[in-house]
Symmetry: C2
Subunit: 328 residues, 2 copies
């Protein structure tokens, strides 16, 4: 896989977005979010999703000119309308606003309706932590996860992000409510591998490690069985309820039309109560020192290493995709 | 199992607590939290834990006179010191304060250090939802959960609660980061049942459905394997970091000395941004109507039915335990 220098990758994506009609500033910001995601090693949600993002601009799901609009303000809590704008720019603006509110009230919360796929949720966790904030955010998705005990997908896999700022590298947890994404399932199938643990049900309703069987049944397993199912439901209820937007079951079950999402962004400012968060260093120390041979990692640790490597050696981008992007 | 009329159960527990030196008001509140938990069918965290609670008063872990004290206030975010007071009373007071802050700022957050076991976390979710609030809270615990890939328990199973208010019955998710809480494992063991899915590793490192083997190894399985492991870590980091208290790895690994816990309580007031939360009814409708034969339940649904039944027919309490309590 070719390694593209980060500035070149960024500039290429930005140029394409300007060609689509983005202003220069918004093109640069949107391109940065895509490029950073791939640079950080989250290959499933970065540049590889760019062609689908362009297709969703072309089919009208994403309105490149729309910017989020304040609907109702109540001190530290605000409701915003994403107006079907680019999902990553809307999410960035929402976390920016939650951070502003947290600087004022110590806690800030933005509920965002009618937005699009935010791509990599972790981006907004890193954003909060870079600002010295604890950040929590989550999104609903199109229905792609059956409730525990059910066969039809009424729930979304609703990724959730929790970020904790730390001098030596932030803790950033970024996880969906399904044990494996459909992208991950396809990867295992293409490599001819079985999943390391059960990932869903086959069409006869048996738990299976066969990725192809789950792709066929569309019955992915929620993390923790009934627990992830319940968590998916309440995250959706909070995001859709507070934002006044749609819940997962109302969202088109089509990756190219998956719009009108509801999201929640929460920032907490530790400095306002004198919280230095030094404990986090001791926690990571305890984790790593107890069984050093096992190399237990904290969420976010691998990203720092990958980011440094990819900034130095270039960002790996699929050869065919890169060739396609250069010609746009 | 004998069914004890709720008022009699409440009065008995309250009398015992007054005998231990609780004021009448605090005895009644503490007794209510224990009795309600059992009445709601959460048998693992109610009256059955009462003898251990008494033992922890006797051994000095729980200081019945201590009340939480404000350490630092920063608008909607406050740090409190639980001063080793009764865990359920401390948690109740903290969620009460978070709700007060949310009435003022729309969002309110209390970080509580140096507290004791809150018993049933769901109590404070119901409390928030009864006040019309969205409530989130979590606690750390003694180290009882190995990080994914490790064998020694450095993490806690850190129960997390998310509650969403709803006219026809609140959504209240109350879940530990282990696939089964230690309370649940004890329940399965006492009933002589195996777990429905793998719940942890036995002492030889094999995945097992035997609850007793997991109680012995202290190697419970995190929900979603690596995902629940990461979630446990970040919840602990937020609670310990913001409260200035201890992280799970620093807490005595002894159920009778498990004190100095760190907790987080967050309340959001939907009414402040005109959020009626009607969407939640539609979500539950969609869940139940898609496959009515499967009887898919939302988190909290079963509790309403059990509560009504136990209030009418009496609260089931183990015969030996009831006999013991009546003689105290």
């Amino acid at each position: 896989m070719p390694r593209i220098p980060y500035p070149e990758l960024l500039q290429t994506l930005s140029r394409i977005l300007e060609g689509k009609g983005f202003t220069a500033a918004r093109a640069a910001e949107c391109a940065r979010l895509f490029a950073e995601t791939t640079c950080d090693g989250v290959y499933s949600h970065g540049v590889s999703r760019f062609p689908r993002f362009l297709a969703m601009i072309d089919n009208g799901t994403v309105d490149i000119r729309a910017q989020p609009e304040l609907v109702t303000a109540g001190a530290a809590l605000e409701r915003w309308n994403g107006r079907h704008g680019p999902g990553n720019l809307n999410a960035l603006a929402s976390m920016t606003r939650a951070i502003e509110l947290a600087r004022q009230y110590s806690v800030g919360c933005v509920a965002l309706a009618h937005t699009n796929h935010w791509m990599r949720g972790g981006s907004y966790g890193w954003q909060a932590a870079d600002a010295g904030m604890i950040g929590l955010c989550w999104t609903n998705t199109m229905p792609n996860l059956p409730a525990w005990g059910a066969t039809a997908a009424v729930l979304g896999n609703n990724p959730m992000v929790i970020a904790v700022p730390r001098e030596g590298g932030h803790l950033v947890l970024d996880m969906a409510m399904s044990q494996f994404s459909y992208g991950a399932l396809a990867g295992y199938r293409e490599r001819g591998e079985m999943l390391p643990v059960d990932g869903g049900f086959d069409s006869s309703g048996k738990l299976t490690r066969d990725p192809g069987a789950i792709e066929e049944s569309h019955r992915a397993l929620p993390i923790g069985y009934w627990k992830g199912s319940g968590l998916s439901l309440v995250l959706d209820a909070v995001a859709a309820g507070l934002s006044g937007g749609l819940a997962a079951f109302e969202i088109p079950q089509d990756p190219l039309r998956e719009g009108d999402l509801s999201q929640l962004f929460l920032a907490l400012d530790p400095s306002k109560i004198g919280a230095g968060m030094e404990i986090v260093d001791r926690m990571i120390g305890a984790l790593q020192q107890t069984e050093p041979a096992l190399n237990v990692r904290y969420p976010g640790e691998k990203i720092l290493k990958t980011r440094a490597e990819n900034l130095e050696q270039g960002v790996p981008v699929d050869a065919a995709l890169w060739s396609e992007l250069r010609q746009l």
